[in-house]
């Protein structure tokens, strides 16, 4: 029955094909353009102070991206976990309901708005300047809603019998959290962290004015110095590089960035306890 040719099925296929082919072709095009550029040398060397130069490696950009993403994740994790625990431990359903709505609202706020907020508060008022730490804080805010939601789902997956048994044994609240909940859900929590890092790696707008410069930084000296990242590197090269070679570097950087993000998401998928049946 599945294989009888049905005019409606044919029509559906015709409409669906562009939706499936265009993303696949786009991915293929990045691999085609970037593949011609990247080599081990491209990834492992940094183009010192060369700006729009010809033979630029992207090591410092890759390092900057990873530093920002991992840092943001480290900043956001305790707050997200605390909020998720608050949600799970609270027995005030009205409050939880409001908290959930609030997290959805925060998730909907465009990343550039977080960038503006960071520019006002961290860069100007706290006078941290355009710096690694300002970027980490802004990205942490961007990550907070998704991490919190992820942590809540992980905690909700714990079998109710575990919690009941722990309570029946008379465990205190902190023992329940530390020795039962966190232990039971640790793999899912780590999955959430990896997805958050992947998400942070794909954000450009929030760090454009708060953390990054185009060139001149190989390795940030301290939390207060600016960084270069793959995302902003691609952006500047795409926007201003009329030199064909700088566009090549942009494609190469794009492929490196995509591969890094895919690696993090695949790792998260592999760690997912229930196996990848999604």
């Amino acid at each position: 029955m599945k294989w009888t040719i049905h005019p409606a099925k044919l029509l559906l296929t015709l409409v669906a094909l562009p939706a499936l082919l265009i993303p696949a072709l786009a991915l293929g095009y990045i691999v085609y353009q970037g593949g011609a550029v990247i080599s081990w040398q491209f990834i492992s060397t940094s183009a010192e102070l060369s700006g729009f130069g010809a033979s630029s490696g992207v090591f410092s950009q890759l390092a900057g991206s990873l530093l920002l993403a991992v840092g943001a994740c480290i900043v956001a994790t305790p707050v997200a976990l605390g909020t998720a625990l608050f949600y799970q431990l609270s027995n005030n359903s009205r409050l939880c309901h409001h908290l959930e709505l609030l997290i959805y609202l925060l998730q909907a706020v465009p990343p550039i708005v977080y960038g503006l907020f960071g520019l006002i508060l961290f860069v100007q008022i706290f006078s941290l300047g355009v710096s690694l730490i300002a970027g980490m804080l802004v990205l942490a805010m961007v990550l907070l809603p998704m991490l919190t939601l992820n942590n809540i789902t992980s905690l909700q997956r714990i079998a109710i019998e575990q919690t009941d048994a722990a309570r029946a044994l008379g465990l205190t609240e902190s023992a329940l959290v530390l020795r039962v909940w966190l232990r039971q859900s640790r793999r899912e929590l780590i999955t959430g962290q990896l997805l958050a890092i992947a998400r942070a790696l794909s954000e450009t707008a929030p760090i454009l004015f708060t953390a990054t410069v185009f060139s001149g930084v190989v390795w940030p000296d301290s939390l207060l110095s600016p960084v270069t990242t793959l995302q902003t590197h691609i952006f500047y090269l795409a926007q201003e590089g009329n030199h064909p070679q700088s566009i090549d570097v942009a494609w190469g950087s794009a492929l490196v960035l995509v591969i890094t993000i895919v690696l993090f998401s695949l790792l998260a998928r592999a760690l997912k306890p229930s196996g990848g049946n999604l």
Partner: protein
């Protein structure tokens, strides 16, 4: 100790939205106190003459997002139906994996593709002076939200109970009738949610739009003309934030664009959660 940690992080999350709107309002206050609220509806944006009409950017944002959804929604839902109904079940997870990975591709990479692939293509095909148009932004946005719409619609379609479908088959309904009368109506709330989520994401998209939209503050003539350079709220913030000096009217006008953007995305979420209030 643990209680203190949990409560303080929950309050930190609670205050997030308040902090965001508070600081944005603080930064855009000068422009509101100087020019009232009328400038939002005016169409002239010349920062050096203190004219800050928001209308062109607002219109550009709404039009590009509207056109993008008009393209992406039918394609995405069709692709989700195609994946569930027509693709052999051993291939389904792979298609799904591809879509999930596509959803993770950073916007700056789409921007790179838009600027160096889509824009020249539009220039050639439509014989335009510049391919950086509202149409380019809308097409790029539609490709960007397509994976999200497809993945979420697929989730919604899969949740339709099997016995409903079996009963429909037992009644001898044709395949198309099952799709039209049972699958789509049942999955509609999920599809609507997917639409609103992608609407929010597309509206807040910055770097990709900024690279292809042309960044000219002018209402299109006639209003439905997609083939002219335009401006969106996000692209204006991204384009001009670097040059505006801190505290100037220009700076606070840009901040108020951010505030407007945030209010719009919050409104979209409240719209999608409408039934929570009933």
């Amino acid at each position: 100790m643990l209680r203190l940690f949990i409560h303080s992080s929950a309050w930190l999350s609670f205050s997030g939205l308040l902090l965001l709107s508070g600081f944005l309002l603080y930064a855009s206050w000068p422009i509101f106190s100087e020019q009232g609220l009328y400038f939002i509806a005016e169409s002239e944006w010349y920062p050096y003459e203190d004219l800050f009409g928001m209308l062109p950017a607002l219109f550009g944002s709404l039009l590009s997002v509207g056109v993008a959804l008009l393209i992406a929604l039918p394609l995405g839902v069709a692709a989700a139906l195609f994946n569930i109904e027509i693709v052999p079940s051993c291939l389904q997870p792979w298609l799904r994996l591809l879509m999930e990975l596509m959803a993770g591709i950073p916007s700056v990479v789409y921007g790179l593709m838009g600027l160096w692939l889509l824009v020249p293509f539009l220039e050639q095909q439509l014989d335009l002076l510049t391919g950086r148009t509202l149409l380019a932004a809308a097409l790029l946005l539609s490709v960007m939200v397509l994976p999200t719409i497809m993945v979420l619609s697929e989730d919604a379609l899969r949740k339709v109970a099997d016995d409903q479908r079996q009963r429909a088959n037992a009644l001898g309904l044709s395949w198309w009738a099952v799709v039209q009368r049972i699958l789509l109506p049942q999955a509609w709330p999920g599809i609507r949610l997917a639409t609103l989520l992608s609407l929010g994401r597309a509206m807040g998209e910055t770097v990709a739009v900024m690279l292809v939209i042309g960044s000219i503050d002018r209402l299109p003539e006639p209003l439905y003309n997609l083939l002219q350079p335009a401006q969106s709220l996000t692209s204006r913030i991204g384009r001009e934030m670097g040059e505006a000096s801190v505290g100037s009217p220009h700076w606070s006008a840009l901040m108020s664009s951010g505030l407007l953007l945030m209010l719009m995305s919050v409104a979209v979420v409240l719209l999608s959660q409408r039934r929570w209030f009933k």
